[in-house]
């Protein structure tokens, strides 16, 4: 290899490597400078809507002993209307079902809305669409503690406890967040469901978030 060729090859290799280093970390625009976002993200169990009736003693006697439930319930899972308003203007309206083909999985909400930076009045409402008088608590009240004896003692209480647990785990029939939000550029304000407190909450990402007006 001649010296000029060696120099040319070295220069070309250096240039190639510099190009490789540059191409491996090119700054590419992602979000506009003056952008902010409202994000709704949560997951919760939908309420189970059931019509229950108490089985008579005759009906129970016709069943195998281990199949003798006091209550027989039919129904499905609730769906919810989600409305998002910013400064009184609806920016998102949708119906939320439980996931899965039979909508029996937990429902989820994951929506992003571009919102200009600044102070806004934010109102998020999640309302159950189905009307029902059915109430798991009422079912619990109907349970007679000593209804079952022997091998099946306490079954009625267990059934009631399970229903009550499911009812507690389900999302409430109505959730509302009405608040002021102050967004700085490139901030994401996050609305999520607090399963412990059973309310919608607003979280900011470094900017200031507003006070909850109606929790």
């Amino acid at each position: 290899m001649t010296v000029p060729r060696l120099l040319a090859a070295t220069t070309a290799t250096g240039l190639g490597l510099t190009l490789l280093a540059f191409a491996s970390a090119v700054p590419v625009a992602y979000h506009p400078q003056a952008a902010a976002r409202l994000r709704l993200s949560w997951s919760a169990r939908p309420e189970r809507i059931e019509v229950c009736r108490q089985l008579s003693a005759e009906e129970q006697a016709q069943r195998e002993e281990h199949m003798r439930q006091r209550m027989e319930c039919v129904g499905g899972f609730a769906s919810y209307a989600l409305v998002v308003e910013v400064d009184g203007r609806a920016i998102g309206e949708t119906v939320v079902h439980g996931a899965g083909l039979r909508h029996d999985r937990p429902l989820y909400v994951l929506r992003d809305f571009p919102v200009p930076p600044g102070e806004h009045r934010l109102r998020v409402r999640l309302t159950r669409r189905e009307k029902t008088d059915d109430d798991a608590a009422a079912f619990a009240e109907a349970v007679v503690p000593d209804a079952d004896t022997g091998l099946y003692a306490g079954r009625a209480q267990r059934e009631a406890a399970e229903r009550a647990r499911r009812a507690r785990a389900a999302i409430p029939p109505e959730l509302t967040l009405d608040t002021l939000v102050r967004l700085v550029p490139r901030q994401v304000a996050l609305v999520t469901f607090n399963a412990e407190r059973r309310v919608l909450e607003l979280h900011g990402g470094g900017g200031t978030v507003g006070d909850v007006l109606v929790p």
Binding site: S43, R186, V188
Partner: protein, 521 residues
């Protein structure tokens, strides 16, 4: 598709020429694209083993930031890992493009093409998971896009994207799964690589040692001098204005993000499907296809040379049907790419693709080439060129007074052809092949040299004056080298006595077919 092949061939020939001018054909990296990709896999394995020791799935961004900040080892190891992955993608992509442009993607090469696509795809997925593991703003951007695309498929009851929403920390399980894929896929790459070369005899997996260490050394130096920047740690509740993107691996990301997920999927299918269909779309029509080699059992002596020379393991030796004790060669047409190298390996000229066997080559000389040359006067110096060699080089040889005689591959040339020319009075014969790592037949120049100068079957007979025989490498971009090699050869010939022409040279009748029943007597 043919148009696309021609376009890529033109582009790659141009690049090939530039790189040959810079590095010489012996060190041209484009000829080593496939092996460079494998070498980069090894670098990735070595650096990856180090990085995984310090990676924490519980605090991904912090552990990578610690590595990046380590000035002694971690910083440049991480950068080397990244640059090696980029070079892997570039080299594997170039290798695939070369195979496509050189029409080496169909027929018996289909398995290599398809497994190569798998390797390339798996490499990209591996790179994707690797960038996500770093969990900087680029990793987050890749994860978000991956989540968005996967959420369109009915895979998860809850969208994957929700774990990046910011209502909780991204679970360690996500990084664990990424790390698992990132480590498990290279094991799959090993199997894919085995499949990729499974139909090759003597597969070359690594570049020449000096070139490999030069590349690794240059990459290491670049890693020390130009460390790859790490973006700010991922933050779901902060919109990044800019992210440093690795455009080699994720050039598609800014485009994909702007498209609805369905359209992005359709676009990627539009890219992948034609690639998967390349073996079908580039397959030559039956009438234009070179037929696979055949064996004339009457001529086959069972010497076992053609199976040794075949670069595709398409020939095996089997027992004869007639109970004769010698073996006979059998060609598997499903494996034969019709490179014709077996034709050059068979001393009795009994094997090879129809029309390109040794005796076919001699018949063409006797009936067409020789009469034409004799009519023109005395025989000039003969330059036997591979049909793949650039036209400019052939023109230059003609301009220097040589007669250019084409063969399908240098390895297809039977040594009797050279003897034929010289015994008919040609001053000399120079056999010109492609650069060894650019040979479409894989091993043409290697076997040609062995047959001419190292007595490999079918060797050039001792009665031929070796001083009148030469070889040269015709590489695109090295016209000066071609001309210099020819001029050197011409000077060597000028120092010799004038050639003597013999009459009635009948080389092929030395090995005329003999009925098997006669050989048994």
């Amino acid at each position: 598709m043919r148009l696309l092949q021609r376009l890529f061939r033109r582009l790659l020939t141009g690049l090939d020429a530039v790189l040959t001018r810079l590095y010489g054909w012996q060190r041209n990296p484009i000829h080593q694209a496939g092996t460079v990709a494998v070498a980069m896999l090894l670098v990735l394995l070595a650096t990856g083993l180090y990085l995984v020791l310090y990676y924490r799935v519980g605090s991904p961004a912090a552990s990578v930031a610690r590595l990046a900040a380590d000035p002694w080892l971690g910083g440049w190891m991480r950068t080397l890992h990244r640059y090696a992955s980029d070079l892997f993608v570039i080299a594997a992509g170039l290798h695939a493009l070369r195979m496509f442009a050189q029409d080496r993607s169909w027929g018996p090469r289909t398995l290599a093409w398809m497994s190569g696509l798998f390797l390339f795809g798996a490499g990209l997925v591996c790179a994707w998971t690797g960038f996500v593991l770093a969990w900087d703003s680029f990793g987050e951007r890749l994860a978000l896009e991956g989540g968005r695309l996967l959420d369109l498929l009915p895979l998860f009851s809850e969208p994957l994207s929700r774990i990046f929403a910011g209502d909780g920390p991204v679970p360690s399980a996500f990084f664990f799964v990424n790390l698992f894929i990132h480590i498990a896929l290279p094991l799959g790459l090993g199997v894919g690589l085995w499949l990729h070369v499974s139909r090759l005899a003597r597969p070359v997996l690594l570049p020449p040692r000096r070139l490999m260490w030069a590349i690794i050394g240059a990459l290491t130096l670049a890693s020390v001098l130009l460390p790859a920047p790490l973006g700010p740690a991922a933050d779901a509740l902060r919109l990044a204005a800019f992210t440093p993107i690795d455009l080699v691996v994720a050039w598609w990301l800014p485009i994909s993000e702007r498209l609805p997920a369905g359209v992005a999927w359709a676009g990627s299918l539009l890219l992948v499907l034609p690639a998967l269909l390349v073996p079908r779309l580039t397959r030559r029509p039956r009438e234009a296809r070179w037929a696979p080699s055949t064996v004339d059992p009457r001529l086959c002596t069972g010497c076992n040379q053609c199976p040794q020379d075949c670069p595709w393991e398409a020939i095996t030796m089997v027992t004869r049907d007639d109970g004769s004790p010698t073996l006979v060669a059998r060609v598997d047409p499903a494996h034969c790419v019709s490179c014709g190298i077996c034709a050059g390996s068979c001393a009795p000229m009994g094997v090879g693709p129809p029309g390109r066997r040794g005796r076919d080559q001699l018949a063409e000389l006797r009936e067409i080439t020789l009469p034409a040359l004799v009519m023109a006067g005395t025989l000039p110096t003969i330059a036997v060129c591979c049909s793949q060699t650039p036209a400019t080089h052939r023109s230059a040889l003609r301009a220097h007074g040589a007669h250019v005689h084409l063969v399908s591959c240098a390895g297809n040339l039977h040594s009797s052809v050279i003897e034929f020319f010289i015994r008919h009075g040609a001053p000399g014969v120079i056999a010109c092949g492609c650069p060894p790592r650019d040979c479409v037949g894989r091993e043409g120049p290697k076997w040609l040299h062995e047959r001419l100068f190292n007595d490999r079957e079918a060797e050039l007979q001792p009665r031929v004056d070796r001083r009148r025989v030469g070889t040269a490498t015709l590489a695109p971009g090295d016209l000066d080298g071609t001309v210099a090699a020819y001029e050197r050869f011409a000077r060597q010939l000028a120092a010799l006595a004038p050639p003597v022409s013999e009459r009635d040279v009948e080389l092929d009748t030395l090995c005329d077919p003999v009925p098997l029943e006669e050989t048994a007597k």
